[in-house]
């Protein structure tokens, strides 16, 4: 399989402190890679750097072989790179429908196409269909995360960067969301980089697990292997 997203010798830091020293990672097309590690391991920093919100100090990020250096955040999105940031990033002042329309805007130029794409999301995430005219701030935590995910998927991205989608959600809701993600990957060939602290959930849908520790890859193994090997789990994931 070929790598759709390649990260080479990436270095990122805030001020004087390096968060990621030199990181290499290749994510194959049509797979889910779980990005694991404790708080402060650099998961969020890595995702924000890939989406262009943080400018790296060194190294390269390639999407399908094209170097993303100097490509603005909005243009990376238009190249098919979607990020769902941590903390249910729905636009609180806009309705569910408007949030979805916004997500669909650049991919589906024509109004009718947009309608079809947004309606598909309502089928995929049924609770959203009932709340389409509710403002973002009126939604429950689960609904918000659902909306953030639907809004990313409606643009039919090639790579989805998910930052802690399970944060603060009930296990049942997490399972539903992850099932939708896995289903979409299997159906469409979407590629997912999933940063999670909820290791068990993340590994249950991932093909591969990558463990970050202080900005470095400390373990990289098939998800099933990582989940089944007590020594690996204990050494890197602390349980």
């Amino acid at each position: 399989m070929t790598a759709l997203l390649t990260i080479e010798s990436l270095a990122v830091g805030y001020g004087g402190a390096p968060v990621i020293a030199s990181l290499d990672l290749a994510v194959e097309e049509g797979t889910v890679v779980a990005l694991l590690g404790a708080n402060g391991a650099g998961k969020t920093t890595l995702l924000r750097t890939v989406s262009g919100l943080i400018t790296p100090r060194g190294g390269r990020i390639l999407l399908d072989g094209d170097d993303l250096a100097g490509v603005a955040v909005e243009d990376r999105a238009r190249c098919g790179l979607a990020q769902v940031p941590e903390g249910r990033s729905v636009v609180a002042e806009l309705t569910v429908e408007e949030n979805l329309q916004l997500g669909a805007l650049w991919r589906h130029r024509r109004r009718a196409e947009r309608r079809v794409a947004v309606d598909e999301m309502y089928e995929l995430f049924e609770p959203l269909a009932r709340r389409r005219s509710s403002a973002g701030h009126q939604l429950s935590g689960g609904e918000r995360q659902m909306l953030a995910l639907a809004r990313a998927l409606v643009a039919e991205p090639r790579v989805l960067l998910l930052d802690e989608p399970s944060l603060g959600l009930a296990p049942r809701v997490v399972a539903q969301l992850l099932a939708v993600i896995r289903g979409t990957v299997d159906r469409t060939g979407l590629t997912v980089l999933l940063a999670e602290q909820n290791v068990t959930s993340a590994l249950s849908v991932a093909d591969r697990g990558v463990v970050l520790g202080l900005g470095e890859v400390v373990a990289d193994a098939p998800a099933a292997e990582l989940a089944a090997d007590p020594a690996l789990r204990h050494a890197y994931l602390g349980f």
Partner: protein, 292 residues
């Protein structure tokens, strides 16, 4: 009673201009989180251009078009050339730069055109209609009201019914998330400035014929009143700008009519201070929707 009817009608017409100008402040505040203190001075530059075009061509309407165009161009120039270089994240530097811009523009206009007030003709009669012997609105007042209502309607449709409006609102509320969704946020910011400064130019153009005449300071009081309107209504609220405009317009004319013109600015300041003390976010400000 006749006097009251006349003052109320005049107040509504005056209020419509305040509302329009306040709306321009709301648009730029929502887009850029800047209270654009230079809005009045920028609008007067556009009115000077309109004055020149009307004088040269004899057409009020060409003048009006040129004011809108100048306003729009000034919006781009000020945003791209000046405000874009002001550090973001804190509204204070933007405000200070805007005040500096007021000084530059007003001094420039003063040097070019001198201090005198140039009378500007209205395109319609300014003598009020008589209804049952009571003077009410003039044809020009009606024109002002119609223009204000149409522009507000068009802006409301633009912001709520078009994909451009959706992107403008999203960029204002959540710029980072909008960029992640492929919205060209810097472009939306420029469009916000363009819309805002064209609307302000229009409001100033509508007001000047009813005032002493055109000079570099013609929009100073308009800015003060519209700023009060925007604060009363809530800087984030277009509906607040509309209703606040009517409140301030009627208050101004009633106080002017019954207590004298010198008391009117004081009444507006009292209103501003009261709102700031009682409900500093403005009467129509949205409830705190954003969490974290």
């Amino acid at each position: 009673m006749d006097r009251l009817v006349f003052l109320l009608a005049t107040g509504v017409a005056r209020g419509a201009v305040f509302a329009l100008f306040a709306l321009s402040l709301v648009i730029v505040w929502r887009a850029a989180r800047v209270v654009n203190f230079a809005q009045g001075a920028m609008a007067v530059v556009a009115v000077f251009v309109a004055f020149g075009v009307t004088a040269a061509t004899g057409s009020y309407w060409l003048g009006l078009g040129s004011a809108l165009l100048t306003g729009a161009v000034l919006g781009v120039v000020v945003e791209r050339g000046v405000m874009n270089h002001v550090p973001a994240g804190n509204p204070l530097p933007g405000m200070i730069v805007a005040i500096g811009l007021v000084m530059v523009l007003q001094s420039g206009l003063g040097m070019l055109f001198g201090p005198q007030h140039r009378p500007m003709a209205a395109p319609f009669d300014e003598r009020p209609f008589q209804v049952g012997g009571v003077p009410v609105l003039s044809p020009y007042d009606v024109f002002v009201l119609v223009v204000a209502v149409v522009v507000m309607g068009v802006l409301a449709l633009l912001f709520t019914r078009t994909s451009l409006g959706l992107q403008l609102r999203a960029s204002a509320f959540a710029p980072e998330v909008s960029r992640l969704l492929g919205v060209r946020v810097p472009r939306m910011l420029t469009i916000g400035w363009v819309l805002s400064s064209a609307v302000a130019a229009l409001a100033a153009l509508l007001l000047v014929p009813t005032e002493l005449g055109l000079n570099a300071h013609s929009a100073d009081m308009l800015f003060v009143h519209a700023f009060t309107v925007a604060v009363v209504g809530g800087l984030d609220s277009p509906v607040g700008a509309l209703l606040g405009g009517l409140v301030v317009g009627v208050l101004m004319t009633l106080v002017t009519g019954y207590l004298g013109a010198t008391v009117a600015p004081v009444a507006v300041l009292v209103l501003l201070a009261t709102v700031l003390l009682v409900r500093p976010a403005g009467i129509f400000a949205a409830i705190e929707a954003r969490q974290a």
